[in-house]
């Protein structure tokens, strides 16, 4: 029977199990493994578990070089924006070296970072930058929304022979949810229908899945049946499953914590405009952050971010449009 796990715990369990399974997996980053009392250091020793200076370019570059020499590094970055000071390593080294070498090398790294911390971290520490990493051939991006996916996607990320950006949402870290027993893996590029429905399709990732499921509850009370689809990885992106759902519902609402034109939502909307157009009975509707940086003060912060109510309103707006009206 499934275990209950905290989101954060699920990630740690996944890394631990993979390190036990494969001696080539190493794990390092800033402000971890400070002393021998650190649980990972205790289990795996100071060669495989290390602390680093504030040197993201070196941290990520070293991971890439080590990966080409047979290790499978998992780099702890804490906040996803810290990748930006080393973004060339993320989008222009890790995903390109194999291709440029004509397939002679592979770069199995996992860059792990939290994101979307909607808790007063203000303009530079609360962002959703996964949009910048979509459509980079050779690069994968995982966005778990519950403990089971957090565990299963991390295990798949570590076993993947390609570079993977693993982004866990800060607002979910303490949430408990069931996790299947055993060596549980979640495949990349396979969306998950988190709630089945017939009237409208809501596509959301990470924290927005939680909000969308709450919105779906509210809608259910009004007799509206919403299907909530979680892509789980935005690279590769499972467009097929989304199209299948839209085929059924004819209506699509996309929820994303990023500002509109940097969101995964707008990319998915674009794909549906080409691949799902004929099933759409109404324009798609995006519920994203407003076009501002994230402000510090709480009333302003919640004003710019998507909410259950905004999702509910968006669903009603697309349901209000009838084919006739089109």
């Amino acid at each position: 029977m499934p275990r209950e796990m905290m989101f954060a715990e699920a990630i740690a369990v996944a890394i631990t199990e993979e390190m036990q399974r494969d001696p080539n997996v190493v794990f390092y980053g800033q402000n971890m493994a400070m002393t021998d009392r650190d649980p990972f250091v205790k289990k795996f020793g100071k060669d495989r578990v290390r602390i680093t200076p504030i040197s993201e370019t070196a941290e990520l570059g070293i991971a890439i070089g080590a990966a080409m020499s047979g290790l499978r590094p998992v780099v702890e970055l804490y906040m996803s924006e810290f990748m930006l000071v080393a973004f060339d390593e993320v989008v222009n080294e890790a995903p390109r070296l194999r291709y440029m070498s004509g397939g002679q090398v592979q770069v199995p790294v996992v860059f792990k970072a939290g994101f979307g911390f909607a808790a007063g971290w203000a303009g530079q520490h609360s962002n959703c930058i996964y949009g910048m990493m979509m459509g980079v051939p050779g690069l994968k991006v995982a966005l778990p929304s519950n403990a089971a996916d957090a565990l299963g996607l991390m295990k798949s990320a570590i076993r993947d022979n390609n570079p993977v950006i693993y982004l866990h949402h800060y607002m979910l870290m303490l949430d408990k949810s069931p996790v299947p027993d055993g060596d549980y893996l979640v495949p990349f590029g396979v969306a998950d229908v988190k709630r089945a429905g017939t009237d409208v399709t809501i596509v959301a990732t990470a924290w927005m899945v939680k909000k969308s499921l709450l919105a779906a509850e509210m809608l259910a009370r009004e007799g509206i049946s919403a299907e909530v689809v979680d892509p789980r990885t935005v690279a590769p992106l499972d467009v097929k499953t989304i199209v299948e759902s839209v085929k059924k519902t004819g209506r699509l609402v996309l929820v994303d914590q990023a500002p509109r034109q940097s969101s995964a939502a707008v990319v998915i909307a674009g794909e549906i405009a080409e691949q799902g157009f004929k099933y759409l009975k109404a324009p798609v509707k995006m519920v994203t952050a407003l076009d501002t940086s994230v402000p510090y003060s709480e009333p302003m912060e919640s004003f710019v971010l998507p909410s259950e109510q905004k999702i509910v309103d968006a669903v009603k707006s697309v349901l209000a449009v009838h084919v006739a009206a089109v």
């Binding site: 800033q30 402000n31 400070m34 002393t35 602390i51 680093t52 200076p53 504030i54 040197s55 993201e56 370019t57 924006e81 810290f82 930006l84 000071v85 911390f117 808790a119 007063g120 971290w121 203000a122 303009g123 530079q124 520490h125 800060y170 607002m171 870290m173 303490l174 407003l290 076009d291 501002t292 940086s293 402000p295 510090y296 003060s297 709480e298 009333p299 302003m300 912060e301 919640s302 004003f303 710019v304």
Partner: protein, 343 residues
């Protein structure tokens, strides 16, 4: 009494007062987490322990010189003349905050008082400071720019790139590397090659062929002297210097990081919490820069015990009012968030 390093009585007392104001301000920030949970969001980083380093450095400023600290930025504007209530109101998310509630603890800014901005991303502010110095050079304003950043930040590429370029361009900037012994929870000896080898971090200056000096950052007069030399060098057009100011951070890196609504507070200092090294912490506390300077000033008759007390009471009263003001200030309207995206 005889003036200290050419500092007259009033100036010395001003310096002591500023140090007390920083300390008391930070104490009130810390207390707020206990007395008014939820009032401060995100991550707040305090400057207690850095008072001598901050005040000693800023006391060498001439009018219009600019200051660019890291995200650990409460202390500097307090000395520069920003009303402390506007700073506390910002940290409390209020409309009357110096940044109207947009920035918070990590992103204070007060250009009107020569503090352009602070970046929350490690090392980047070092480059911004050099940019301000470049502007001063091109516009021939005679300004010197003071760039403050931590020991950990000196491991970020931005540090290396900026110091080289500042040296090549002979920019009027003073780089103050605040070595408080820790990069968040990481002891400097775990991540800095100089420290690991027992060398001073000021040795990094050799990579740029600029002067590098290490100073006791708990001795406000020594800091004044060393940073003063660097500032005059910059002002004379001879380019940047690197000053390593060594002191100890008295509170942990920041309030504990957790997910709301779980309350957050400051825990024990990393030396104890992480490394179980109470001795290190106690020793540092015994070497409190404020107590030390107070003893010097009482000793040389700059002020009497009673005068010192009066100053300290005045500061306590000021910060009491600062907190009251900040608590009373209204929160911004939600839709205010739409402002200031575009210039």
């Amino acid at each position: 009494m005889a003036a200290q390093n050419g500092l007259g009585k009033d100036r010395l007392i001003w310096m002591y007062t500023q140090m007390c104001r920083i300390r008391e301000f930070e104490e009130r920030v810390k207390r707020t987490f206990v007395e008014h949970p939820g009032t401060i969001r995100g991550h707040a980083h305090l400057g207690d322990g850095a008072e001598a380093s901050i005040v000693g450095a800023l006391a060498t400023r001439r009018e219009n010189d600019l200051v660019m600290p890291s995200y650990r930025c409460h202390g500097y504007p307090i000395v520069l003349g920003t009303p402390a209530r506007a700073l506390m109101a910002e940290i409390y998310q209020r409309k009357d905050g110096i940044c109207k509630g947009f920035g918070g603890s990590m992103h204070l800014a007060d250009p009107a008082h020569h503090f352009p901005t602070a970046s929350g991303i490690i090392g980047q502010g070092i480059a911004h400071a050099a940019g301000a110095a470049y502007a001063a050079q091109v516009k021939k304003t005679g300004q010197v720019v003071y760039s403050f950043f931590g020991d950990g930040s000196s491991k970020q590429g931005a540090f290396h790139e900026t110091l080289n370029l500042a040296a090549v361009w002979k920019l009027p900037v003073v780089f103050v590397l605040e070595n408080n012994g820790y990069q968040a929870y990481t002891h400097v000896a775990l991540e800095d090659a100089n420290a690991m080898a027992g060398d001073p971090l000021s040795q990094k200056a050799k990579a740029f062929s600029i002067p590098g000096e290490t100073v006791d950052g708990t001795d406000v007069l020594k800091v004044y002297e060393v940073v003063g030399r660097a500032a005059e060098r910059a002002r004379a057009g001879h380019g940047p210097s690197l000053v390593e100011s060594k002191f100890y951070r008295f509170t942990p890196h920041g309030n504990a990081i957790t997910v709301p609504p779980v309350p957050t507070q400051f825990q024990e200092h990393e030396s104890i919490e992480v490394y179980g090294n109470k001795a290190e912490f106690e020793a540092a506390k015994k070497n409190d820069p404020i107590a030390k300077f107070r003893a010097v000033l009482v000793g040389n008759g700059t002020f009497t015990e009673a005068e010192a007390k009066r100053i300290e009471d005045g500061v306590r009263q000021e910060m009491e009012e600062v907190v009251r003001f900040a608590l009373a200030s209204p929160l911004p309207a939600p839709e205010d968030a739409l402002n200031y995206v575009w210039a």
